[in-house]
C-alpha cells in the first residue's frame, strides 16, 4: 500500500473512530451520572440540597467531564460527516448504554429490549454502509 492510499484510508476511518469515541464517552457519562445519583439517593428528603450534594459527588463530576469530552469528539465528527449520517451513527450509544448498564450497574436486558437494540444496530449499519458507498463514489 502506498503512503497516499494509506493516509486516505486513515482519513476515511477518522469519522468512525470519532463516532465510536463520542458514543463511548456518552455511555461512560450516563453510567457515571447514574452512579453519582445513586450515591446521593439517601439525601432526597430535601430536593434542593440533594441536587447540590449530587454535584459534589465525584461520580457526577466525572460524568460531566466525560460528557464534555464526548462533545469535543462530536464537533470533530460534525466537521467531517453530514449531520444526518453523524446523528444517526451516534445512535450506537443506544447499544452501548444498555450493555454498560448490564456490565457495570447489574441491570438486566429483557429479550424485547435486546430485539430493539439489535434493530437499532441494524439501522446504524445500514447508514454506515450508505456513507461508505458515498465515499467510494467520491
Amino acid at each position: 500500500m502506498n503512503p497516499i492510499q494509506s493516509s486516505a484510508r486513515v482519513k476515511s476511518a477518522l469519522p468512525y473512530w470519532g463516532v465510536i469515541c463520542c458514543a463511548l464517552f456518552v455511555t461512560a457519562s450516563e453510567v457515571l451520572l447514574k452512579m453519582g445519583v445513586d450515591d446521593t439517593q439517601d439525601l432526597h428528603s430535601a430536593p434542593s440540597w440533594a441536587e447540590f450534594q449530587g454535584l459534589v459527588s465525584g461520580w457526577i463530576w466525572a460524568g460531566i467531564l466525560c460528557y464534555i469530552i464526548s462533545f469535543v469528539f462530536w464537533l470533530k465528527v460534525l466537521k467531517i460527516l453530514p449531520l444526518n449520517i453523524a446523528f444517526n451513527l451516534v445512535n450506537i450509544e443506544h447499544i452501548f448504554v444498555p450493555l454498560a448498564s448490564y456490565l457495570f450497574l447489574g441491570e438486566m436486558i429483557s429479550p424485547m429490549r435486546a430485539v430493539g437494540i439489535a434493530v437499532v444496530l441494524l439501522g446504524v449499519l445500514v447508514i454506515a454502509e450508505s456513507y461508505c458507498r458515498v465515499e467510494e463514489r467520491a
Binding site: 449531520l83 445512535n91 444496530l121 439501522g123 447508514i127
Partner: protein, 116 residues
Amino acid sequence: MTGWFLGLIILSQTFMVGGQIFLKHAMNSTAGGSEAARWKRAAPFACGIGLLTLWFFLWLGLLSQVELSYLYPFDALGPLFMAFGASVALKERMTPRLWCGVLLIVGGLLIVGASQ
C-alpha cells in the same frame, strides 16, 4: 396526553434538531483570521449551544412531569426530525437507504421504549 404536552415534546425535539443544525453550520464555515470570519463561526455556534441548552431544560421539565418509559419513545422522533431538518436546512441528500436506516433506528428505539 394533552395537545399542550405533545406540543412541548415536539418543541423540545425541534430545539434539539435546530441546535445540531446550527452547530453543523458553524463547523462547516471555514475559520479565518478576520473578525467577520470569526463571528460567522461563533454566532451559529452560540445559537446551537443556546438551543441545545433550551432542549436540555425542557426535556428535564418534561421528565419531571411523566415517567421516563412514557417519554422515551418520543425521543425516537429525533432521527426523523433530523432527517427532515438536515435535508431542508442544510440541503443534505436523503437516499432511500438512509431513510431505511433512520426508520430502523426509530423502530428499534420504539421497541426499547416499549420494553421499559
